[in-house]
């Protein structure tokens, strides 16, 4: 074979260092975010109620506890989508479907709604409670009430199942067509829920309560932490519950981060990467394309299911009209903005966009209007802003805010083969 036995010259830092560097940066990010979470939690729990006054109202405006919670929930979804788009390289424009399915699983298994699912009232007396926590109001203990922590994996698995179900026919398509079909499913599934009030023979089966939505949703039990003084044993809608709910959502997001990082390192993560790099070569090297892609769909959908249940507890209900196409696009924007494939990048991207979405833009608008004396509704320009951000990113920072090391390489340096093709000699030279 070729005579070059000299070790290949290294462009940039060697990868061994890079792997060590990645581990260290993982620790740094995890620690940094953990500190941020703890500080925010203490702030919401003890400090702000004690301080009150301007500080409290500043936070209420710019970063309220529910805004922070919502941001963390978006992180869960963005990380789920990142597995499909960033890891396996499959463009999915219908991720909102899994958010919806996760939400409705919460609606079926942890709210009084199950007792209303038969329109002829034949289930009206249905009462099933397994470690569940229905709101302590007369009559709301009807229906199925499973424990929140039990519903999470159930919803995850149901979503994973639907991920496979949707994936099986669509994944045979090549990228652009796949994107279109996922877009279709992302519309179809919320539509089914929106019109799912009278299904089956005689319209007797009520799957989703249609546009009216399902509410209320059960509380989140904190056992065994409820033994710690000051920790409520149920997290519902009371003001003092909210900081703890925020903590619960952070815990779930952390679990998805952990899952993403671990899977990336193993056999499946390698196969996803290989498929992203060169599908044909991967299949010739024994990687079953279909199964591997379906696994990406399933794992991504699993995260969506977890997020869907958490979101249902956050808004205390499931409303079909919420699950629109824009959500899929915003999630995709989060992944692209943050840096496809990089868990921390996607986390930051999700936090930033979700913040702009929930409070940032509105508050900025209020401040701006007050200062200048105009009356512009900044919230209306939300999508204009997102579009602008995406275009600017593509122009100036294609790899995202915090790119994956691998991706950074491609975009920053020409391939060595290309350089050699034009006669550049890289030997011993630091390119």
């Amino acid at each position: 074979m070729a005579a070059t036995t000299t070790p290949s010259p290294v462009t940039g830092p060697s990868v061994k260092d890079a792997a060590e560097h990645a581990r260290r940066s993982n620790r740094k990010w995890a620690l940094g975010l953990l500190i941020a979470v703890v500080v925010l939690f203490l702030l919401y729990w003890k400090i702000l109620p004690a301080v009150g006054g301007d500080t409290a109202s500043f936070f209420r405006k710019w970063l309220s506890v529910s805004a922070a919670s919502e941001m963390v929930l978006w992180v869960i979804f963005a990380l789920g989508l990142n597995i499909v788009v960033g890891y396996a390289g499959l463009l999915d424009l219908g991720y909102v479907a899994f958010w919806a399915i996760g939400g409705y699983v919460a609606g079926w298994f942890m709210s009084p709604f199950a007792s209303e699912m038969m329109n002829d009232k034949s289930w009206a007396n249905l009462k099933f409670n397994f470690l569940g926590h229905p709101p302590a109001i007369q009559g709301l203990d009807r229906g199925i009430h499973l424990n929140f922590w039990l519903v999470l994996p159930i919803a995850g698995l149901i979503c994973a199942f639907f991920g496979v179900l949707i994936g099986a026919p669509t994944l045979r398509l090549k990228s652009d067509y796949l994107a279109l079909v996922t877009l279709g499913f992302g519309e179809i599934i919320p539509q089914i829920f929106r019109n799912g009030e009278r299904l089956g023979p005689g319209g007797n089966f009520n799957l989703s309560n249609g546009d009216k939505g399902i509410t209320p949703v059960d509380t989140i039990p904190t056992w065994p932490f409820s033994y710690i003084p000051g920790v409520p044993d149920q997290l519902g809608l009371r003001a003092e519950d909210l900081p703890f709910k925020f903590l619960v959502y952070c815990l779930l997001a952390a679990a998805i981060v952990f899952l993403s990082l671990r899977i990336r390192e193993g056999r499946l993560g390698r196969a996803w990467l290989a498929i992203r790099e060169d599908e044909l070569a991967a299949s010739m090297m024994g990687v079953p394309l279909m199964r591997t892609k379906l696994a990406a769909y399933a794992v991504g959908a699993f995260a969506g299911g977890i997020g869907g249940v958490a979101f249902a507890t956050f808004v205390n209900g499931i409303y079909a009209s919420r699950f629109d196409f824009a959500i899929s696009i915003i999630l995709l924007a989060m992944v692209v903005l943050g840096g496809m494939g990089n868990v921390w990048g996607v986390t930051v991207g999700a936090l930033v966009l979700a913040w702009i979405n929930s409070t940032g833009l509105e508050q900025f608008g209020n401040t701006f209007n007050d200062a200048v004396g105009t009356n512009i509704n900044f919230k209306n320009y939300q999508f204009l802003l997102f579009g602008l951000i995406l275009v600017l990113m593509m122009l100036f920072r294609r790899e995202g805010l915090i790119p994956e090391t691998r991706t950074k390489q491609v975009l920053a340096e020409p391939e060595r083969g290309e350089l050699e093709a034009v006669g550049a000699d890289l030997e011993g030279e630091q390119a």
């Binding site: 074979m1 070729a2 005579a3 070059t4 036995t5 070790p7 290949s8 010259p9 290294v10 462009t11 060697s14 990868v15 061994k16 792997a19 952990f258 899952l259 671990r262 899977i263 390192e265 193993g266 056999r267 499946l268 993560g269 390698r270 196969a271 990467l273 290989a274 790099e277 060169d278 044909l280 070569a281 991967a282 299949s283 010739m284 090297m285 024994g286 990687v287 079953p288 394309l289 696994a295 794992v299 691998r406 991706t407 390489q409 491609v410 391939e415 060595r416 083969g417 050699e420």
Partner: protein
């Protein structure tokens, strides 16, 4: 290198047997009733002028195309119509004419991708790093390093494939293919871009792979000096048909082969000289 005695080739078992392979694309018959075998432990070559159907035939063997008619047997398994990853898992590994590595993965990761079908750990085991998964990963990594050392690039394990030199990339492709634990290694124009010394060394390398990894090698090659030196048997395709098969010496003197390569008019002078 001398060719193996014919008796050995006949008596040994077949690693691959393709019977009457035909494939049509629309009205075009790209491969026409080609019979082909690879005896165990042999080095055989497939040659032919451009457009003869060599790569198409290769792609049929690896499961990328499904033949219009005919069967492919790998050992005693019928692999006709199997998807490429199954054929690969059953022991048919290949390299590519234009190098197709996973550019943004390290050399080691590239090799480990090919171990995918032999590894077992699932999602749960990976997330919780079960002892079995750790062991499997560790063994895989060690095996990958061994293979990289075997093909002569032990120091680049942690480099991204795209940063390797051309020669090292070709070696890495072989290492990756070997990670599949193949019975047959298909090399698609492996000496493209090599100078004569490198090609000469390549011949030795092929025999070393064959002997140490206990497999058979099928080459598609343009460089006749390599083909004649390395092959124990040569098969010639022209316009989708097998026009000759035999030892390198037979092929050199075969009238139809010379015609296929030089054209009929080119051989007229040759004929009259005779």
């Amino acid at each position: 290198m001398t060719a193996q005695p014919a008796e050995r080739m006949l008596s040994s078992t077949l690693d691959l047997r393709a019977d009457k392979i035909t494939i049509r694309f629309g009205g075009l018959t790209a491969v026409d009733e080609v019979d082909f075998t690879i005896p165990h432990g042999s080095v055989v070559s497939l040659i032919g002028p451009n457009g003869a159907g060599k790569t198409t035939f290769f792609n049929i063997l690896t499961g990328l195309y499904h033949p219009t008619s005919g069967r492919v047997h790998l050992g005693d398994r019928d692999v006709t119509g199997m998807p490429p990853h199954q054929v690969a898992h059953l022991g048919l590994a290949r390299t590519f004419q234009n190098i197709r590595l996973f550019n943004l993965m390290t050399a080691e990761e590239n090799v480990m991708v090919a171990m995918h079908s032999h590894m077992k750990s699932g999602i749960v085991g990976t997330v919780f790093k079960s002892p079995r998964q750790r062991r499997e990963e560790k063994e895989g990594r060690e095996r990958a390093r061994e293979l990289l050392a075997f093909v002569g690039i032990p120091k680049v394990a942690d480099e991204y494939a795209r940063n390797l030199s051309y020669g090292d990339q070709r070696r890495l492709e072989v290492a990756r293919a070997l990670a599949l634990r193949p019975k047959i290694l298909l090399l698609d124009e492996p000496t493209a871009g090599m100078n004569p010394q490198e090609s000469a060394r390549f011949v030795e390398f092929v025999y070393r792979v064959r002997d140490e990894m206990d497999l058979s090698v099928l080459l598609i090659e343009h460089d006749m000096s390599v083909v004649m030196k390395v092959s124990e048997r040569v098969t010639v395709l022209d316009q989708g048909k097998k026009i000759a098969e035999g030892t390198p010496d037979d092929i050199k003197n075969d009238q139809r082969v010379v015609e296929a390569y030089l054209g009929k008019t080119g051989t007229e002078g040759y004929r009259s000289d005779k």
